[in-house]
């Protein structure tokens, strides 16, 4: 039951982001350990247009510092970071 609730909550969240036109690419990084969540975001950032947004869902706590630090040094921007149970959700905007 709890699993279903979490799933529907997540689906709703994804739907909202998509319909609002904010998300250009979804990345499911759950289960990947440091530094792979950051590596995958870096690998995919050029797949969205400048101004585009990646919504990345990770579970590795290390990503909470890694992805914002990566964004800071590469000139991109983390618009939002939120936690939903074990999931850590990042909205990353390609700035340049």
């Amino acid at each position: 039951m709890a699993k279903e609730k979490a799933k529907s909550k997540q689906e709703a969240s994804e739907k909202t982001e998509k319909t609002a036109g904010k998300v250009d690419l979804e990345l499911d990084l759950r289960g990947l350990m440091c530094p792979l969540p950051m590596v995958r975001v870096s690998q995919n950032i050029n797949k969205v247009p400048v101004g585009g947004v990646i919504r990345a869902v990770a579970t590795d706590p290390g990503s909470l510092a890694d992805i914002p630090s990566w964004a800071r040094t590469t000139g991109n921007e983390v618009l939002k970071t939120e936690r939903d149970g074990k999931d850590i959700i990042f909205l990353v905007k390609r700035v340049k």
Binding site: C34, V39, D60, G62, A65, P68, S69, W70, T73, T74
Partner: protein, 438 residues
């Protein structure tokens, strides 16, 4: 390549051309013994990955710009211009190397290819051709160190969650994972992630140690990148923390290169003597068992267990007996890989390769020998005290159907201490209340 770029690259080469490098470039007789020692050359047959050729690329550039014979008769003396084609070859050859030093072990002159490639990496970085993802990872680590106050609250919150996991695992509601504890004896530098924090926490708690957890991860991508300055800054984060807290010993997590950086490279890089001891996780576990601080319960594990010597822990740091001593306490059927110890084959994932997607296919291909080696032992559990090795062997396990579970030395010991199966994973959230099943 314009004149300024060329001057920069040759300048870096000249700067790195010390007696050691000159010796390496001079004594190689091209005997090619190293061809059978390198897992990458054995797997691919590509000369680019032959250790002697890796060094040869540097040697040819050296001849061209720093010897008269190479300057005036380049084709006769195999001298070569430093052009974009050479840099592309150098890139593939250099950043593909895992730095395992198996070639050095077999070389009659002990030529350290990793040392030569250190200069190659410096040249590539100067040419703006350093590995991009390693550059970004190193940059992020430096940035985290400079802006730690932005992340501290998040990390402290996460630590509270990990602490609850620890309390649940060991059945002690007062157990803590201290952070920034002044006067602690030990500063433990983990990797990012609960899997690297919980098992040592169980061990340290059971041993009654006065310890504290570092705010910084031990991994050092500046080292993999070959950027000494970034490597120094990344390691300095932990050094400064250790000094500030006044610890006597820094314990490095099960991460081969991180130990090597802190124990063998930092003092040279920083030109400062460390005021504390540096200990590898494998070393402290063996010590705690030997001195009786922790006791492994009787009833040894009977399933077949094998041990993979990480290159940076074994060949490059000399820890062969400690992990075997620990594993023989835990398991009654430890089966060696053939070959093992100083002759062990590299898993293929070191040198930062597991973090470089451009080498994914290559590292899986060049890891086939490791997969075969493990299969031959018929072990169900592979223990290796290095994160890169574990990630690589886990990937090989999927690709080559090895049917094994891969884990760390701290994990098997911590599991024994809390009465669990030694192969149980330490993951975030595993001690939560079970969810309802429909």
């Amino acid at each position: 390549m314009n004149k300024t770029e060329l001057k920069t690259i040759t300048g870096v080469l000249e700067q790195g051309m010390n007696r050691q490098l000159l010796y390496y470039l001079d004594v190689c007789t091209r005997c090619s013994i190293c061809k059978d020692a390198c897992h990458q050359y054995v797997s691919t047959g590509d000369v680019l990955f032959l250790p002697a050729y890796r060094a040869e690329l540097i040697r040819r550039v050296y001849k061209k710009y720093f010897t008269r014979s190479g300057l005036f008769l380049p084709s006769l003396y195999e001298a070569r211009e430093s052009d974009d084609r050479l840099l592309d070859e150098l890139y593939r050859s250099t950043y593909a190397c895992t730095g395992c030093r198996r070639c050095m072990y077999y070389c009659p002159f002990s030529i350290d290819t990793t040392w030569v490639l250190g200069v190659a990496k410096a040249m590539l970085i100067a040419a703006g051709k350093g590995a991009q993802i390693l550059t970004e990872l190193a940059g992020a680590a430096v940035s985290k160190g400079e802006n730690i106050d932005l992340f501290k609250d998040i990390m402290l919150d996460l630590n509270k969650e990990t602490e609850k996991e620890l309390q649940s695992l060991i059945g002690d509601s007062k157990a803590t994972i201290p952070i920034e504890k002044e006067g602690a004896d030990i500063l433990y530098a983990a990797l990012a992630g609960v899997h690297s924090i919980l098992p040592p926490s169980v061990i340290f708690h059971k041993a009654g140690l006065n310890w504290t957890l570092s705010l910084f991860e031990s991994a050092n991508y500046g080292y993999f990148l070959g950027d000494v300055e970034k490597g120094r800054i990344i390691a300095k984060r932990i050094v400064d923390e250790a000094k500030r807290l006044g610890v006597k010993e820094v314990v490095i997590s099960e991460c081969g290169h991180a130990y090597r950086v802190m124990q063998y490279l930092y003092e040279t890089w920083a030109k400062e003597e460390l005021s504390f001891g540096v200990t590898a996780m494998v070393e402290i576990i063996a010590r705690l068992i030997e001195e009786g601080s922790i006791e492994i319960p009787s009833g040894k594990e009977r399933k077949i267990v094998t041990y993979h010597d990480p290159c940076q822990v074994g060949r490059n740091a000399g820890f062969y007996e400690e992990p075997r001593y620990v594993l023989n306490q835990v398991a009654s059927n430890l089966r060696e890989l053939n070959p093992s110890r100083e002759k062990n084959w590299c898993c293929g994932g070191g040198g930062g390769l597991v973090a470089q997607p451009e080498f994914d296919e290559f590292r899986i291909k060049t890891g086939e020998r490791k997969a075969e080696q493990i299969k031959q032992t018929r072990a169900g559990l592979v223990v290796s005290p290095c994160e890169n090795c574990r990630l690589q062997i886990t990937a090989l396990n999927e690709k080559y159907d090895m049917g094994v579970k891969v884990t760390g030395l701290s994990d098997v010991v911590a599991n024994q201490l809390i009465g669990r199966d030694i192969a149980t994973s330490f993951e975030a959230g595993q001690t939560e209340e079970p969810e309802d099943e429909d």
